[in-house]
Amino acid sequence: MKKSTPERTCSMNPVALYFAYGSLSLKALFAFRIDAVLRTLAVFVREFASVIVVYLILQRFPDLGGWNMNEVLFLFSFLFLTYAIMIALFTGFRDFDMIVNSGKLDLLLIRPRGTMFQLMAYNSDYLATLGHGAVGITLLVWSAQAVGIVWNPARVAFLLLTLVSGVLIQGAIFVAFSCLSLWFGKSGNVFRALYRNSRKIAGYPLSIFPDAVRSIVLYIMPFAFVNYFPAAWLLGKTDGFWPGLPFLSWLIGPLLFALAYVLWRFSLLRYSSTGH
């Protein structure tokens, strides 16, 4: 890479700048190589542990609300794949509490680039992408074969659109909660508890849960549209839900992200820095 002077960085187009940031993130992450490998492995093991729990339960029982083990693992794979892509783009919003409290946000605000762009480009956690991505791809390839999905162009397109929408849904959630941090100073604990639980719920067929639990992943953090409805369509199930819901998933991602973006712009206007 050429040496980047301030003048050069200013004149870069956004894509080149994004990759310049990306290569710096990678350099930072791999400054300690053995540690980077160990951390990726640790994330992989942590995420795989939840898969093992499902696997072991479904070894003892034939099915879970009409879904067999391979089908549940197929459902699971969407969560990992979308998270892997999402975290590469939205790490800045995951760590947003810290960025605000340390005053780093003010630094981003005075630079001649969009704040959201900088947060997306800066300090991406590619180790999480690797850890989650490895679990996601392993599960998807293995379970899709085991349940016998025939990949025709329509299904591949369906899968890709679903993944894009799933990334946008989770990105919108991260951005929206970062806005709460701008308003109330801190929202990390509520966010983490809700996010963790929603992801946990989304690992299983929605039909097994009582209404109160369902409403969490339908209305508060709409994870049901990240994996449940699309996976059910690919597997030819409806579980008694309206059959149009899988296609509604594509709309929900872009729509939620647009809303989150508006909220973000509005919240930034109101932001008056920390520590006074």
Binding site: F32, R39, A42, L56, R60, F61, I208
Partner: protein, 263 residues
């Protein structure tokens, strides 16, 4: 001197109470987590429930206690690691107190707060919603409490070993994360020991993981009786001693390695 340790435990307990919103989130978090897992068990039992050797009610009881308490028995390895890394640990070493004892007192205070203020309300709500099996006998209740206290000590000792790794290794994230994943799968909270496959159970029996939630739950549910209860408790105690010796050895060796900037 004993008073100082009690005071540390009391202070950490009160520290938790300072953030009321966090307390509410903690209760809600535990209720949701238990509700989700109960729904999973109900769904799988609906497929072949009657064929299982252990009833749905017992499995739900395991979920209520083991998952609920696992939320409370969460060790904070990173704060000790941070002290070791920054050298702030020298302040603690200079105090006329035993370092491991101070950490134990703080861990007890934190777990006490989470058990009383977060777990207990969540447990009552979930017990009303989902029901639970009564303890196997009148004697099972105190023995269960004793065994659960030892589960805490096992987890505390493993946590201590993890934090002391930072004498040698800069970032303990990988070690702690892999340990937590192992506890999640093997401790008997998310997969009760009666659903573990034989090869896994053989490993768990020979490891400290059985001394975590499987031991107290088997007492409550009456899966062990008479002398095997004592055998289980003795096994837990042995694991605590072994892990503590290991931690102590790491502490002694680590202190020799400790190099603080400018010293």
């Amino acid at each position: 001197m004993k008073g100082a340790y009690i005071e540390i435990a009391r202070k950490t307990l009160l520290e938790g109470l300072a953030f009321r919103v966090n307390t509410l989130i903690g209760i809600l978090d535990t209720v949701i987590l238990i509700a989700v897992n109960v729904a999973i068990w109900k769904a799988v039992y609906a497929s072949t429930g009657t064929l299982q050797t252990v009833s749905l009610e017992d499995t739900i009881t395991n979920t209520l206690f083991a998952i609920g308490i696992s939320q409370a028995f969460w060790m904070d390895e990173y704060s000790i690691a941070h002290k070791i890394r920054t050298g702030a640990i020298t302040n603690d070493i200079l105090r006329p107190m035993h370092f491991g004892g101070m950490i134990l007192a703080a861990d007890i205070g934190r777990a006490g707060y989470r058990l009383l203020v977060e777990f207990l309300p969540a447990f009552v709500i979930c017990a009303l919603l989902f029901g639970l099996s009564a303890p196997a006998s009148a004697l099972a209740l105190p023995l269960f409490v004793l065994s659960m206290a030892m589960s805490f000590l096992v987890l505390h000792s493993i946590g201590l070993i993890m934090s002391y790794i930072s004498f040698w290794y800069f970032n303990i994230f990988s070690f702690v994360t892999i340990k937590n994943a192992a506890v999640l799968v093997l401790s008997g909270a998310y997969i009760p020991y009666w659903f573990m496959p034989d090869w896994m159970m053989a490993f768990v029996r020979a490891s400290p993981f059985q001394a975590i939630y499987s031991a107290p739950m088997s007492i409550w549910l009456g899966h062990v009786n008479g002398s095997s209860v004592l055998y289980g408790l003795a096994k837990q105690a042995l694991w605590i001693v072994a892990l503590q010796l290991c931690a102590q050895a790491l502490w002694v060796l680590g202190r020799r390695k400790l190099a603080v900037n400018g010293g």
